[in-house]
């Protein structure tokens, strides 16, 4: 059984990557923070008595389920919003668009102030993240679990609820898609 310290160390080790994983999926920082918090609480409450070795797989499974729940709730909410407030929704989209524009402009300014290398590096990292966001959900999950969370094929398969063969296929497709996309943008890693 995982001790409090083991669980704490595990969560500390995984929390930032989990946050980024959630951001890649839902594309909203606040929602991603809520998702990670929910996943952490569920892990501690329901699986706090499991051995430390099982925690990565369990946490990934919970995280993916929590992300799916978020999309389900969003779908229901959007249905009601589109039914009852067409005008309000249009105003909301405009606000979102403005924020996004402002955000990009700020990023550009910060990069312009840095040295050329730093700017290029930051831009490359952003492009890589953008390409990862564009991957199909299952491919992205498999790729991030295998190569970012250091989980082996069996653990990834258990967390995703699919066969080991499917994990390998998802990983291979994701890597090829990323390689093609980065090559098309002239990025050499």
């Amino acid at each position: 059984m995982a001790t409090d310290k083991e669980l704490g160390d595990f969560l500390e080790n995984v929390e930032r990557r989990a946050f980024k994983q959630a951001v890649y999926a839902v594309r909203k920082d606040e929602a991603a923070l809520d998702i990670v918090q929910d996943a952490m609480i569920k892990l501690a409450e329901k699986y706090g008595d499991k051995p430390a070795a099982e925690l990565p797989m369990l946490f990934q499974r919970i995280l993916q389920t929590t992300i799916l729940d978020y999309f389900r709730r969003e779908k229901v909410r959007n249905t009601w919003v589109s039914l009852f407030s067409g005008l309000g929704r249009r105003e909301g989209s405009d606000e979102d668009f403005d924020i996004l524009e402002a955000y990009e402009a700020e990023e550009g300014t910060a990069a312009a102030e840095s040295t050329m290398d730093q700017a290029e590096r930051a831009q490359t990292l952003q492009l890589i993240e953008a390409e990862i966001q564009k991957l199909p959900a299952r491919q992205r999950e498999a790729f991030l679990m295998r190569y970012w969370q250091d989980m082996d094929v069996a653990e990834t398969a258990a967390a995703m609820g699919c066969s080991e063969g499917s994990v390998k296929t998802h990983c291979s497709r994701a890597t090829h898609a990323l390689a093609d996309a980065l090559r098309a943008k002239g990025i050499q890693l």
């Binding site: 704490g8 500390e12 990292l125 990983c171």
Partner: protein, 127 residues
């Protein structure tokens, strides 16, 4: 996957890790707070109780199930008891009525006589 693919995957991993260090302080603080909340709600070791050489484990879920099952059982037993009691009462009342009718001086056929019924009603009205 060939070696080139694996190399690319690990280079991407390296790039993603670099980005982790650039997370805003507000985000890392919020994550730390979320971790603290999660740890405070960690499941504690189960308490087992030895009873007739059988281990009974009490956890939140099993207590929750018992919390539903016990009132439900009590309700079923209560309804059964109430039905039995009402049934006994009804039988006793009928028996009492039968006994009263049989012990009455009037013959049973008197109750079938319409004239007798009219007489009884007029008597009641006079009272």
């Amino acid at each position: 996957m060939n070696t080139d693919d694996i190399n690319l995957a690990y280079k991407i991993r390296h790039a993603l890790n670099e980005n982790l260090d650039a997370l805003p302080a507000s985000t890392t603080e919020r994550l730390a707070a979320a971790r603290a909340i999660a740890l405070s709600r960690k499941q504690q070791p189960r308490k087992s109780r030895r009873f007739f050489d059988v281990d009974f484990h009490f956890s939140g879920a099993s207590l929750g199930r018992l919390g539903v099952a016990i009132p439900l059982l009590a309700l079923v037993v209560g309804l059964g008891g109430l039905y039995q009691y009402e049934e006994q009462q009804r039988i006793a009342e009928l028996a009492e009525l039968d006994a009263a009718v049989l012990a009455d001086e009037l013959p049973l056929t008197a109750y079938l006589d319409h004239g007798f019924n009219a007489y009884l009603e007029s008597q009641q009205r006079q009272q």
